[in-house]
């Protein structure tokens, strides 16, 4: 459990904004600005944050679906940033992805059977007969039926489509699955079905998950460790229990207190943050959170806090600690 399977070091993605004459680069958007974390084998690392904080970009960079500007991604002692396109394609056999929108991520012109079989064809696994048998196994594994293989995506509901997406990700027997908001498009009653399925599959195949979501309760349910992102940076990363029971970073505290709890008897002392998330093209100087932070000090607007490790193993970037 303690072996780091995947390690991300100082990952950055800058997008230039071109403007003016001759397309000169006038500004840069720092979508992800120096993110580091490691994922142990068999665990689930949750990444939470509000829209635009760079959580999805981080997920896609690990797959190299988005080419990082800078940084290292070490998977099984190999820096996958140095791989060629062809080698990278092979490496993706071990890292698969589940996408948010089950309506957009399945090709409407292919049968479900073909959709699930395709990654196996790409990675040259088995012959046609073996692959078809595997497709049927996979469909049953995710709670669908073997005869569904002949149908098309539009014949399925949102929850069923997400199951198809999961079956496709599992087809090549990956070690790591990056799930980018896999349940946010689903209704609560279906959401819980898919979350349970993901947990069962993890136990059964000893999978490692990177679970990206904006819903804090969902992330708590599925994760062993959780990283909170704000404006392209990780502000706090810790064991799930510690983070939710004793949040330390002012942003984590505010975020947790803002979640409406489905129990009328619980009256939380909400910390209402003022204003909006600043644009990543013009992040505030110093700590990116200082202009909304209830505990801001003088130093916060001048110096950027570093990610420190506290006694309990929690990582935090805040001048308070």
């Amino acid at each position: 459990m303690n072996e780091a399977l995947l390690q991300v070091e100082n990952l950055k993605k800058y997008y230039p904004i071109k403007g003016g004459k001759f397309g000169k680069v006038s500004e840069t958007v720092r979508a992800v600005d120096g993110v580091s974390f490691s994922v142990r084998e068999g665990e689930t690392l949750g990444i939470v944050g509000e829209s635009g904080c760079g959580k999805s970009t981080t997920g896609r960079m690990i797959m190299r679906l988005i080419e990082p500007t800078e940084g290292k991604i070490i998977f099984q002692n190999r820096n996958i940033m140095e791989l060629s396109k062809r080698e990278m394609r092979k490496a993706r056999k071990d890292i698969q992805m589940i996408f948010q929108d089950p309506f957009a991520s399945l090709n409407p012109r292919h049968t479900v059977g073909h959709i699930i079989e395709e990654p196996m064809i790409v990675h040259r696994m088995g012959d046609k007969k073996e692959r078809q048998k595997r497709v049927e196994e996979l469909l049953e594994l995710v709670g669908l039926n073997a005869y569904h293989a002949r149908r098309y995506p539009h014949q399925f509901s949102g929850g069923q489509r997400q199951r198809i997406g999961i079956a496709r990700a599992l087809a090549v027997r990956p070690k790591v699955i990056i799930a980018d908001e896999p349940v946010s498009a689903l209704d609560v009653s279906v959401q819980s079905q898919v979350l349970n399925l993901l947990k069962d599959l993890q136990k059964q195949f000893h999978l490692t998950y990177i679970f990206i979501a904006h819903d804090l309760s969902v992330v708590r349910h599925i994760s062993d460790r959780v990283g909170v992102m704000y404006l392209g940076k990780i502000v706090e990363l810790s064991e799930c229990e510690a983070l939710y029971n004793h949040p330390q970073h002012p942003y984590t505290k505010a975020l947790l207190s803002a979640v409406p709890v489905p129990d009328p008897d619980v009256k939380t002392d909400r910390i209402i943050l003022q204003g909006d998330v600043p644009s990543p093209a013009h992040p505030p100087a110093g700590c990116a959170f200082h202009d909304r932070c209830p505990a801001a000090m003088d130093i916060c607007s001048k110096e950027m806090p570093m990610l420190k490790t506290l006694e309990d193993g929690r990582k935090i970037s805040c001048h308070l600690y």
Partner: protein
């Protein structure tokens, strides 16, 4: 608190398509009292948005049509009111805010143009008074630099600010009832907390009744007084928020509450409601929830239960002897 403002009785709204009549709302009854916040919850396709459009007289017609029942505003039946009468009511008496603030604001007019238009249609103010009133409204919803905002376009505002503008517009003529259709679904949690806070504040200050349409039980628990749970075009349970959350009677309500991952307590696996929401009109006999219910009896498949009870009503044979 006990003056009935809006009374919906036996409302049935159908859509007439090539595949025949689709009953989106199939006989619902509820009342809204002065100054209260009523939550209308349910999953996608349960008919909660169609209910609100029916009340506002905004159903796309054809294909939508109110085929039965009445909607009383004070003592007047507005279910088949003339368009000219509805125009008087909309804004002055019943106002509405929508889920996606970007699509409900016109991108080619300034905030000021749109806000002033709404006020001008319902009152006779001079140019100067209009300006003053707009600024006052924007300040009321907590927007800074109100004067400059009037000259800005919707794309220059963030999602939270746009929703505040929508609320300002809806509140411009002091309506008695405000229908809010998923007003915070498109927003991040910290911004959602700001908007919910604002709505509760406006409710207390202006005594405007709010119908809060949402799929998020957390939102309901935190801000509503009473709640009606909808399933497949019918209300299955209705009562005060405390009653519904502490003593849910209908198996669907119970399932819905239990399938939400808890922010403060971690369980191994989540409760799930099996299956998915049926297509409207596909079940013609018995209780609509029977195929997914774990307490299903023979009676449930034969007869349709009624919504019975005094303060706490439910549509289930388990509680009707």
């Amino acid at each position: 608190m006990n003056d009935t403002l809006l009374k919906v009785s036996g409302l049935r709204t159908s859509f007439f398509t090539d595949d025949g009549e689709i009953p989106a709302v199939n006989g619902i009854d509820f009342t809204v009292h002065e100054g209260e916040i009523l939550g209308l919850v349910g999953e996608s396709g349960c008919g909660k948005s169609v209910t609100s459009l029916s009340i506002m007289g905004l159903l796309p017609s054809p294909p939508g049509k109110i085929v039965g029942g009445h909607i009383f505003y004070k003592d007047e039946d507005i279910s088949h009111a003339k368009e000219s009468r509805m125009r008087q009511l909309r804004g002055n008496d019943i106002a509405m805010i929508f889920q996606e603030p970007m699509t409900s604001l016109n991108p080619v007019f300034t905030i000021g143009d749109q806000l002033k238009e709404a006020i001008r249609l319902h009152s006779h103010l001079s140019k100067k008074e209009l300006e003053e009133r707009s600024i006052e409204l924007l300040k009321q919803v907590g927007l800074p630099r109100a004067k400059e905002l009037l000259k800005e376009y919707p794309h220059e505002l963030s999602g939270g600010m746009r929703q505040r503008v929508m609320i300002a517009m809806a509140m411009s003529c002091n309506p008695k009832v405000l229908i809010a259709d998923e007003p915070t679904t498109a927003l991040d949690v910290t911004i959602q907390a700001q908007i919910l806070d604002l709505m509760v504040k406006l409710n207390k200050e202006t005594h405007t009744a709010i119908i809060m349409i949402t799929h998020d039980l957390g939102v309901v628990a935190q801000m509503c007084h009473r709640v009606a749970v909808m399933y497949s075009g019918k209300i299955v349970e209705e009562g005060t928020v405390k009653e519904i959350f502490n003593r849910p009677q209908h198996p669907y309500t119970k399932g819905l509450i239990e399938s939400i991952p808890d922010l403060h307590d971690k369980k191994d696996s989540l409760y799930t409601i099996k299956g998915s929401v049926p297509k409207p009109g596909s079940i013609t006999r018995g209780c609509l929830f029977a195929p997914r219910c774990e307490f299903v009896m023979d009676k449930c498949l034969e007869q349709t239960p009624e919504l019975l009870g005094e303060e706490h009503k439910s549509r289930c044979f388990l509680h009707q002897g």
